[in-house]
């Protein structure tokens, strides 16, 4: 069975600066890939290229076999994307916003309402459904972004820092949700919370200065440091001294 996400030599330059440098990997159904790396490593830029928002300087990506550049609409139909910072339209209500996204995704009538209800249920947003998004707390806003990505139950999920700003209960909820969905989907999440990698990811990629420097299971990665802790491995691999070498 072919991988649901295929990334091949993906490169992005901003002027002379190379933000993403020949990144290649694939993610199969059933995998949850943790995308790790220090600030500015190129995680969000890679995810934006995967979602077809940023145009790659070189290389390409496919979602469920559809090229994200040349077959963008089909690729995006199979993709749920949570952009960094979970942007939403502040003046809309939670329900209004999700209905808008459902409409764009081609749902109408009963099915549209059902999809919205399901997404609201999955992200426990029921109490806030009629509130304008601008009046929500940060964690609730993030959940609205997540609900939007899950609305169409896509085979591929790309979530840029999905648990950032959530309280411990909600972090637990969202991790549980990701684990439950993992079997039928290919999921990529970026995070700075390494315990999350242990908790939900079946595989981790560390990227630094735009390059992939590690690609292994969390357990394998952890063994690369005498302490056996992912934190220490991350620090040892991505601190400036190590990268300069």
């Amino acid at each position: 069975m072919a991988a649901l996400i295929e990334i091949e030599g993906l490169t992005k330059r901003f002027g002379a600066f190379t933000a993403v440098d020949h990144v290649s990997f694939t993610v199969a159904r059933g995998e949850v890939l943790g995308f790790l790396g220090p600030n500015g490593a190129g995680k969000s830029t890679t995810m934006r290229m995967l979602a077809g928002f940023v145009t790659p300087t070189a290389g390409g990506a496919r979602v469920c076999g559809h090229d994200v550049q040349t077959d963008a609409v089909a690729a995006r139909q199979n993709l749920g994307f949570l952009p960094e910072g979970a942007p939403t339209y502040p003046e809309m209500t939670v329900q209004g916003f999700l209905r808008f996204v459902a409409g764009i995704r081609g749902y109408a009538g009963r099915e549209r309402s059902e999809r919205v209800e399901r997404a609201i249920g999955l992200t426990t947003l029921a109490e806030a459904r009629l509130q304008p998004i601008e009046t929500l707390s940060k964690g609730f806003k993030r959940r609205v972004g997540l609900a939007q990505a899950l609305l169409h139950d896509p085979p591929v999920l790309v979530l840029d820092e999905p648990t950032d700003g959530l309280d411990p209960n909600q972090k637990h909820e969202v991790r549980g949700l990701i684990t439950r969905m993992a079997k039928e989907k290919a999921i990529v999440i970026s995070t700075h919370i390494l315990e999350e990698v242990d908790a939900v990811c079946s595989r981790a990629i560390i990227i630094a200065r735009g390059r992939v420097i590690a690609d292994a299971t969390p357990a394998e990665l952890a063994q690369r440091h005498p302490s056996g802790k992912l934190d220490d491995v991350f620090r040892a691999m991505t601190e400036p001294k190590a990268l300069a070498a």
Binding site: R48, F53, H66, F81, P83, E84, P87, P90, F100
Partner: protein, 249 residues
């Protein structure tokens, strides 16, 4: 891309945008300023009552110039706001074509201008109370006014896509709209014809106001309609190209 331009998705964008205008004070402020400006210009400067004629000639005379000023204020936030909020990343990663987002936003702004224009009905009622105007001519004037608004909106939308900065988008749109409005005025054509008379004729044919004036005389010609459709189409195409090019900058 695998599937064609979708009217359904375009209208979904239009509905959201239009609701957005009315969710903020933008709509009310714009409409009030538009009506006050039109009123002051028509009744005071235009000498609406002194002319002793039952028509809307002064009203339509000022209309394009009011649009030159106000339409860029309406369009400057069209794309800049999506950039500021980061929602452009959400919008353009939904399964839609960029041209659908461009046309959807344009139609919302156009529908909004149509509402503003419709709210000038007291002018029309006034002339009908004072005399017996040619209402068919007035209707043609309104059609022309809507087309002028569309032409300027298309310019403004493209300008908004070109700059993250709303002030720059406003000024850019204002200047381009002004050029297309003023292109038929002697001030401009005299200047151009000193260099090349052929160019002056060309400038006049490109002028939005020259076209609009035949509408206000009660004439709707196919070539004028084609002009406006081509004009709007050109700027929306440019808008799509610019959005595609600069969306992630």
């Amino acid at each position: 891309m695998s599937d064609g331009f979708s009217v359904r998705r375009t209208f979904a964008i239009t509905r959201r945008e239009l609701a957005g205008y009315f969710a903020t004070p933008v709509a009310a402020v714009f409409i009030v300023i538009f009506l006050v400006l039109q009123g002051v210009l028509t009744f005071n400067l235009g000498g609406f009552f002194d002319r002793d004629q039952a028509d809307l000639v002064p009203f339509f005379g000022f209309l394009p110039w009011v649009f030159v000023l106000l339409v860029p204020a309406l369009t400057m936030r069209l794309w800049a706001e999506e950039r500021r909020l980061g929602t452009i990343e959400l919008l353009l990663t939904l399964p839609l074509r960029q041209s659908e987002a461009v046309v959807g936003k344009f139609l919302a702004a156009w529908a909004f201008c149509a509402i503003a224009l419709a709210l000038t009905f007291p002018f029309w009622i006034t002339v009908n109370l004072l005399g017996h105007p040619d209402n068919a001519t007035i209707a043609c004037g309104y059609v022309g006014g809507l087309l002028v608004a569309g032409a300027f909106l298309a310019i403004g939308a493209a300008a908004s896509a070109a700059s993250k900065n709303q002030v720059i988008a406003f000024v850019l749109a204002l200047v381009i709209c002004f050029i297309f409005a003023a292109a038929s005025y002697p001030l401009v054509t005299d200047f151009i014809s000193r260099g090349s008379p052929a160019l002056a004729t060309f400038a006049r044919r490109l002028s939005v106001i020259e076209r609009f004036q035949s509408f206000t005389r009660g004439v709707i010609e196919a070539r004028d309609l084609i002009y406006f459709v081509t004009f709007i189409g050109f700027w929306l195409f440019l808008n799509t190209v610019v959005v595609d090019h600069r969306k992630a900058d």
